[in-house]
Symmetry: C2
Subunit: 305 residues, 2 copies
């Protein structure tokens, strides 16, 4: 009979998808599931996480290694009170002061920790990915929205869950309105959703951000203009973060990083042109892709053991 | 015979003045001197600090408490390698890779530590001043130049001495050139020197920044325009720092803070108008004034004991 593997259930609750995995203490993934985020997740987040973990256990049962879940990590976007295990505020998920740790721990019967998706993702990039060995870093996933996490002097910055709202840095006082109530935030100029929206507004054509990058490379002047504006906005935000915090490593993640060199090459140039005496950061693609948050949830769950 | 008081020699080497004090372990100042910074300080900084400490001992000898110097803290502007005790780079003092700890310790014969003037000033504000009890703070002295220091999650951020260059945050791409090589940095719009320069350019009149504030309150339209632009620029930089780092306390220091409510009242309003969901920071005047750096040097020296 095969030895039972101890695992944690790692759950990344996003605005559109829940990504979950069973992860060993050496960060081996033994089962993985992705499901759509239910519209009414706020009504019973404990039941949603429980059903997800049940799916994970069913997936694991197909394999040849019996598992025992010894802990759970749940990461969510927005403002998170990690100490109380409460989702304080999320625009995308529509909750305020939602207890998460208590209902999840009650149903699963294992110690549960709650964290922030992007800060946890940075933790995973430090432990398992592109920030390995770094003392300072900006982790910047660019997808439907833009959030960020900071590593400074070897510590991931929380500031009571308030750090890293780079998506709402003012870039253009004459820019489009943002859901936050301001105008011209980074997120409404340089997120994947903003690039798609802006390209559609100019051309009437539907194209994802990655497709806009491809069309820009092919010489489409509308695509070139939209892409260049997004790159310049990201460069301005990165240069501001370097100037204020002194980070020397910038890891771009999320959907926009899929564009690879089409994003990173002009972004490196634009960041460089905005710095004078400041230490120029190394600018790279994050290593863990869409799995960063989930692996970060596993880091939190194992750290809590 | 009076008991001998153990003190540290705390020395704040600025671009124009050196402020120094003998400070007990309970942060009582037993002697204080201020002298002009010699033009050739780079030639022999050990001798300059030694002469300053000799003056301090002479001043202390006038008092009724005999002292014994048991350590020395030297703080300087620019980039500082605290571990090696080296001033890496200072625009104002014109040095690169200047050893400070070794020559000072050799001449004084006591353990010596070298730190950054603004980070040390923040440490003093935490221990003895307006940041007492804070977990997160931005310390923003505004004088001839602008530098800043960050406290996040209870730790003063260094990032290898690179953190806090808020004076070189881009505010206005069409703004005046900055000594750093960029244009429109915060420092060339909102420093005391910039306010004085801008007012002189508009009116041909010489007036210090504090006087410009007084004239603005009196209805002088040029003073109103210059002051408002500086306040708006400071507000933009503070809002960016709050958004990126999550600090909830902002302490304004330096010469510009002498204007008190004429600065802080409009600044609070302007910062508030730039934030939406972000936690609005408490915005106050720093408590230790021009003594912050020197007291910070004392903190570093006592901490090293």
């Amino acid at each position: 009979m095969a030895e039972v593997s101890e695992v944690v259930a790692a759950v990344d609750v996003g605005g559109t998808r829940i990504k979950a995995a069973l992860v060993t203490a050496s960060y081996e993934t033994l089962a993985e599931v992705t499901r759509a985020t239910p519209k009414d997740i706020t009504a019973d987040i404990g039941a949603v996480v429980h059903a997800t973990v049940t799916d994970l256990l069913a997936a694991a049962a197909q394999g040849d290694r019996p598992v025992r879940v010894v802990g759970c990590g749940v990461v969510v976007p927005g403002l998170v009170d990690e100490a109380r295990g409460v989702g304080m505020f999320s625009v995308n998920l529509g909750w305020r002061d939602l207890p998460i740790r208590y209902p999840v721990a009650s149903l699963l019967g294992v110690p549960t920790v709650v964290g922030h998706d992007v800060r946890a993702g940075l933790l995973a990039e430090i432990r398992l990915g592109a920030a390995h060995g770094a003392r300072h870093a900006l982790f910047l996933p660019v997808g439907t929205g833009i959030a960020a996490a900071l590593l400074l002097d070897g510590a991931v910055v929380s500031a009571d869950g308030r750090a890293g709202e780079l998506g709402h840095l003012l870039i253009d006082p004459a820019g489009p309105p943002c859901a936050c109530g301001a105008v011209g935030c980074l997120e409404v100029i340089a997120s994947a959703a903003a690039i798609e929206r802006e390209y559609a507004a100019r051309t009437g054509l539907a194209a994802g951000a990655e497709q806009v990058a491809v069309r820009a490379a092919g010489g489409d002047p509308d695509a070139i203009a939209v892409w260049a504006r997004a790159v310049a906005a990201l460069a301005q935000a990165i240069a501001a973060t370097v100037t204020i915090t002194g980070v020397d490593l910038v890891l771009i993640g999320g959907g926009l990083a899929e564009s690879g060199a089409a994003l990173l090459d002009p972004l490196r140039e634009e960041v460089g042109s905005r710095l004078t005496f400041q230490r120029p950061p190394r600018l790279e693609r994050a290593a863990l892709g869409v799995r960063a948050g989930c692996l970060g949830a596993a880091c939190l769950a194992w750290d809590a053991r």
